[in-house]
Symmetry: C2
Subunit: 313 residues, 2 copies
């Protein structure tokens, strides 16, 4: 049966191997209410690299006035040697942030755009067009310095202010980021309102202008839809998945609700599907335990919750 | 990529309409540690019917020595008139239970089998073959009395004692239950270890002997896989889904972990997919709030958690 069902499915529709982009140390911790030390964040990144993760979003060079929790990103980077830094990325909003990132030995930066005008205005205080114009010199300078540049597009399946978002707009912003030199664009369902067939329709629209090999998905589990959306995306040929260890992050638009999909929940599904990811699952669960303990937080991840429950029983 | 994968997907693979079988009042409450009154359970069933649910697992006629929390199922049934009772089902383990169910005016019963010998031995104290022999007279008598009979098969994607479960065994037990007169068999991933492609392979195997129109799926969210498994099952033509309001139930094998998939999380996905279900979503969320409040419990459902978070913020 297994073989015939495999035959019934279009060959190669599911990737045999995926790349996980771990966003816990930046996107995750930035949105946690609990305090944590620079040492804790450094230890988290170290442990994540030891799990076998090859792409970790380690911090940002945004003004400390806006994001005090990431103010020590320079110090963090300096704790890692070049071979480790090759696996770390930092968010930069502008040229000043880029210079600081270069100064600290960053090898990859990320620029953060939006597919919703209202979200862009409230989140980065400018229109979508203005944000893209701001990213252009950042990208050229970064590329000239030999850094890799990754692009993010937020609100791809819904906006907290506008509601539905036009897939054409997502496709347009994604295409412009690729043309600026981003090696990959991550499609972010910032408020987690996406559902699988909407995710499929979006990916099919965006892949009309950006090759699927240059797209990643970044789903939030606010309404429990993250894994099913990831599964649907894998069926469209997507092979890069953003996730956050222990589901760190939460939802800024519904404090207390789930945010980033938990890396361990994604890995559980990938293992069940026989898809390679190169991550040590037990070490990942220990790393989730480490940061939850440091934040004195209960897991939002179903897998980590079940593991904790079994340990107690 | 987009068009080719679209062409590869069989047309109309997703049902336009599904039937939700709400199991909160029995499978859910039975596995909750908190105490609750008969009145609370009656009120829960009443509210669920008011949400538009047409199939509610209301209780069981198992010996009170084994399941004291369901001892008042007769009293519960007597609170509903015939037209309401037409939408309620009760679990019965044997002929004695069936007589009590008939006495109380039940219109539908459910028999509970397993696909794992060890689970069957520990859960109902007999072999799978013995359990099926025990169900045979129960089914004939129930059918003779004009009752509907639904069959459950537990451990279809994993056993807490044996680990992997052979899909051939699941297909065999399902086929026998249908031959006994069950109008439908619900495939239960009792410990939630199933993942989407395993669910697809299982359904394809079982549908070799049982029409897909006579199959339902009953997934647990212990490892966060329930919704993605349901999505995969819908893609195979399954159109009946068991779920539990507020995710009532938990996991007996990992106390504190998630159990039954939450009805509201399923409805959120179905709405996003444009699949009809006939349930009033707002009333359902209020009903989840009612029972969580009665049990003094925090929601495991992502949707109910997000709703609670938004109400607080």
């Amino acid at each position: 049966m297994a073989s015939s069902s495999a035959a019934a499915r279009p060959a190669g529709v599911y990737p045999t191997k995926v790349r996980i982009v771990e966003v816990g140390p930046r996107d995750g911790l930035q949105n946690e209410s609990a305090e944590f030390s620079t040492q804790t964040r450094i230890e988290l990144v170290r442990r994540l690299l030891d799990c076998g993760l090859k792409a970790v979003e380690a911090g940002s060079f945004v003004s400390p006035r806006w994001v005090p929790k990431m103010a020590d990103t320079g110090i963090l980077l300096e704790h890692f040697d070049r071979s480790d830094r090759d696996h770390l990325a930092v968010l930069v909003p502008n040229l000043r942030g880029l210079e600081a990132a270069i100064e600290s030995g960053a090898t990859e930066i990320a620029v953060f755009g939006a597919a919703s005008e209202t979200f862009s205005a409230k989140n980065i205080n400018c229109s979508i067009a203005e944000s893209l114009e701001r990213f252009r010199p950042v990208c050229s300078r970064a590329l000239a310095e030999g850094l890799r540049v990754r692009g993010y597009v937020s609100c791809v399946l819904g906006c907290p202010y506008e509601g539905d978002v036009d897939p054409d707009r997502v496709a347009d912003v994604s295409e412009q980021l690729i043309k600026m030199g981003c090696y990959e664009v991550s499609l972010g369902d910032t408020i987690g309102t996406g559902t699988p067939l909407k995710a499929v329709a979006l990916i099919r629209r965006v892949t009309e202008v950006v090759p699927v090999t240059q797209l990643a998905v970044h789903f939030h589990d606010t309404y429990g839809q993250a894994l099913v959306n990831i599964f649907a995306a894998l069926g469209e040929g997507i092979s890069v998945i953003d996730s956050s260890v222990a589901g760190l992050g939460g939802c800024p638009y519904a404090p207390g609700a789930a945010g980033n999909v938990a890396t361990e929940d994604v890995i559980y599904m990938l293992d069940g599907m026989g898809i390679q990811h190169g991550i040590d699952f037990d070490r990942l669960l220990d790393t989730a335990g480490f940061i939850l303990n440091a934040l004195d937080k209960q897991p939002v991840s179903r897998v980590s919750t079940a593991r904790l429950a079994k340990a107690k029983s």
